[in-house]
Amino acid sequence: MDMFGDPAVWLPWTFAALMGLSILIYVVLDGFDLGVGLLMPLAGEDEKDRLVASIGPFWDANETWLVLAVGLLLVAFPPAHGIILTALYLPVFVMLVGLILRGVSFEMRAKAPITQKRMWNSAFFAGSLMASLSQGFMLGMYIMGLTWKLPNIAFATLTAVFLTVGYSFIGAAWLIWKTEDQLQRRAIRWAKGGIWGLVMGIVAISVATPFVSTRIFDKWFSLPEIFYLAPLPILSGALVAFVWWQLSRLPLQNDRWSWTPFAAAIALFSLAYGGMAYSFYPYIVPEKITIYDAASAPESLFIILIGTLFVLPAILGYTMLSYYIFRGKATALRYN
């Protein structure tokens, strides 16, 4: 345990990194399937099944990353877990109800009598919307330091809308990759209509975060940090331009480059997320509790870490296997 220096330092850091990675993977993966849910009302009746089919084999495992992220927060930083979730009591409730509605209607829309299908489709959309909005709201509240004041709530409402539209963008980008013909062309239009949400979200957070705390301001706008960090916004800008260019020329013959908007969307989410992580480190409850203050006992963290080192590669392995098995354009979901 002492191999890498003081375990009370490197263990919390490792767990913060693991948790951060889980949240990022969750945002990207469930982001696209929540996004597909958000696009449901825009799709024609005959296209809805294909939308659902494109996420069918994956959504379950995607949501497990949320459980892992919350689980890591819970096990590695118990006091922070309590403070954050108590402060976000109501949006958490809305998100949970949304996720429940979504998961259930995913099954019900295909299994309940056909007359109920419209209702379950609506529930699927409503659930996706509730989950996306509340996640964006929680993001905003977290940035603003988890206090329920009117300006903070206003900002959080803004991030709620931006993240939701951003999810619809990554969902559309996923559909560009996983569908074909007319539906793919519609997905390209949806992606064009949704990319502003992601851009505005990134801009809003980038502008707001440094002004919430002088500590974060100094982390970004002092020499020489500003030069090391310059690639982050520049790369993001380039990616947005690239996506826009791709969207304007897709679809190409033989479906070439259809994967690029989705890949660029992942990169954009990751860059924005990386910037945020840089801002808030080492705090886990913004400006109040650091990861080192909140960490569980090193013995307990070490026990989890050993398991993680064996299990996480396996998880990544069979997750990739699943995406490989269901590669190519989405086909109708069948049990046989």
Partner: protein, 462 residues
């Protein structure tokens, strides 16, 4: 009502709703593997039909279990922050192992199991089915380890009021874990056995003469009849384990107020906690002493022993524990009678010519496993009160300081959703049964492997 009681009700509501679905998926996963292996071995179409029907129920139950389970992982932080702050060093690793070794395994391979049959080799699909079933069982193991540790904690030390793990072997193999684990797996097996028997009986009553329905009814009845005696034995051993480690819970289950020998087995009573006595008591003399101590003079603990010097009640509320326990036992006895009667009738008439009356009885008992499982969990969980972790952490010390109104508001929200979803869930299962019954009349009810024929009538994801 205050935040504490409301939070307890909310947690109870969430976990009750959640446990309904794992109780089905744990054993149904193995049952599907059984169907699949029978299909591989015999090549008989009926096993494919049985698999195709029950995999739909499995997919639906699994989704309900996943989404209601996400709620659980958040409830610790939103309502019970004191829990992880005090015992996080033990609970944390156990929960982490559950997520890492079980949740991902089942979630990823579920996708392959459900939708991958035409995309992978048959053996890979069978393997995926196995891994899903294995994942659900692993998940049960870890969560039961944690729950049992909360009842019978060991392998830890307290430093400044916070629990630190000292011996992980002792923590994992804590005294009540083996009993609780076996009891829960058997409960899941019985729930699924009665569900399969009940829905198959329903389909037969509706006129389904398919071979798959007959086989499913046979499998359900035989599984139920085989598991229920083992479950009664396991439950009895679990009770004796509880007597050793949590005597207050046993006292509440038995409705026994005074410690002493020759304690009767109370069949029915209305426990009056204010007067500290039972009303309308009907009991069998020496019964409780005989069951718990195996002799009439055996001393059985009484509730009056669990009153602190200053008058604080250190035993659970008696009535809920007392009645939940009797509901569980009553359901278990009904299961025993029906499944063994079913076995006799099966030998006499065969599954295809079962009289209507027992078929109605099996229908009525379709969800009896849910009732028994919930009643059993209420007995053991309410029976642990006022402790959250026996002897270590009181429930009232773990609750969050969220306002009571907030907890009440969200509680009502959850209850409305849960009630709606349970109705929808049972409704869809009966609808699927009705549809499968009607499907019987079409001569060609084939499930070609990988082919496109005959599937046009199926809805996607069906």
């Amino acid at each position: 009502m205050d935040t504490l009681l409301l939070s307890r009700i909310q947690f109870g509501a969430n976990i009750s709703f959640h446990i309904l679905f794992p109780t089905i998926t744990i054993a149904l996963g193995w049952m599907l593997l059984f169907f699949k292996l029978r299909l591989n071995a015999t090549g008989d179409r009926k096993w494919m039909d049985a698999y195709m029907f029950w995999v739909k129920v499995f997919a639906l139950s699994f989704a309900m279990g996943v989404v209601s389970g996400i709620t659980m992982s958040f409830q610790f932080g939103t309502n019970w922050p004191g829990f992880m702050e005090t015992v996080g060093n033990v609970a944390g690793p156990l929960l982490a192992y559950e997520i890492m070794t079980a949740f991902f395994l089942e979630a990823v391979f579920l996708g392959i199991m459900l939708f991958g049959a035409s995309r992978v080799k048959p053996w890979v699909h069978t393997l995926a089915t196995f891994l899903v079933a294995f994942g659900t069982t692993m998940s049960t193991f870890w969560i039961i380890v944690l729950n049992s540790w909360m009842h019978t904690p060991q392998g830890y030390e307290l430093r400044d009021g916070v629990v630190f793990a000292t011996n992980w072997f002792d923590i994992i193999f804590n005294p009540s874990m083996p009993y609780r684990f076996v009891h829960m797996l058997l409960a899941s097996g019985l729930t699924v056995a009665f569900l399969i028997a009940g829905i198959s009986a329903l389909r037969m009553l509706w006129g389904d003469k398919g071979e798959d329905v007959k086989s499913a009814l046979r499998v359900g009845i035989i599984a139920a009849a085989a598991l229920i005696p083992i479950q009664i034995l396991a439950g009895d051993m679990h009770g004796l384990n509880t007597l050793e480690h949590q005597p207050a819970k046993i006292a509440a289950m038995e409705g026994n107020w005074e410690t002493g020998p020759n304690t009767p087995l109370v069949l029915f009573a209305i426990p009056d906690q204010a007067a500290r006595e039972n009303r309308f008591e009907i009991g069998i003399p020496n019964g409780a002493s005989l069951i718990l101590k195996h002799k009439a003079s055996g001393v059985v603990p009484g509730l009056n022993d669990f009153i602190a010097q200053d008058g604080t009640v250190m035993h659970p509320r008696v009535a809920p524990v007392f009645f939940s326990f009797r509901i569980m036992i009553g359901t278990g006895v009904a299961m025993l009678l029906l499944s063994w009667t079913g076995l006799v009738l099966l030998r006499k008439y065969g599954a295809g010519h079962m009289p209507r009356l027992p078929l109605y009885a099996f229908c009525a008992m379709s969800f009896s496993g849910w009732i028994a499982t919930l009643a059993g969990w209420y007995t053991t969980e309410i029976g642990r009160q006022p402790w959250l972790v026996q002897g270590v952490l009181m429930t009232k010390d773990a609750v969050s300081d969220v306002s009571a109104g907030m907890v009440l508001g969200t509680l009502i929200g959850y209850l409305v959703i849960y009630a709606t979803l349970i109705v929808a869930y049972i409704g869809v299962i009966t609808y699927l049964a009705r549809k499968a019954t009607k499907g019987e009349s079409t001569p060609n009810r084939g499930y070609p492997r990988g082919g496109e024929a005959n599937v046009t009538a199926l809805q996607p994801g069906e």
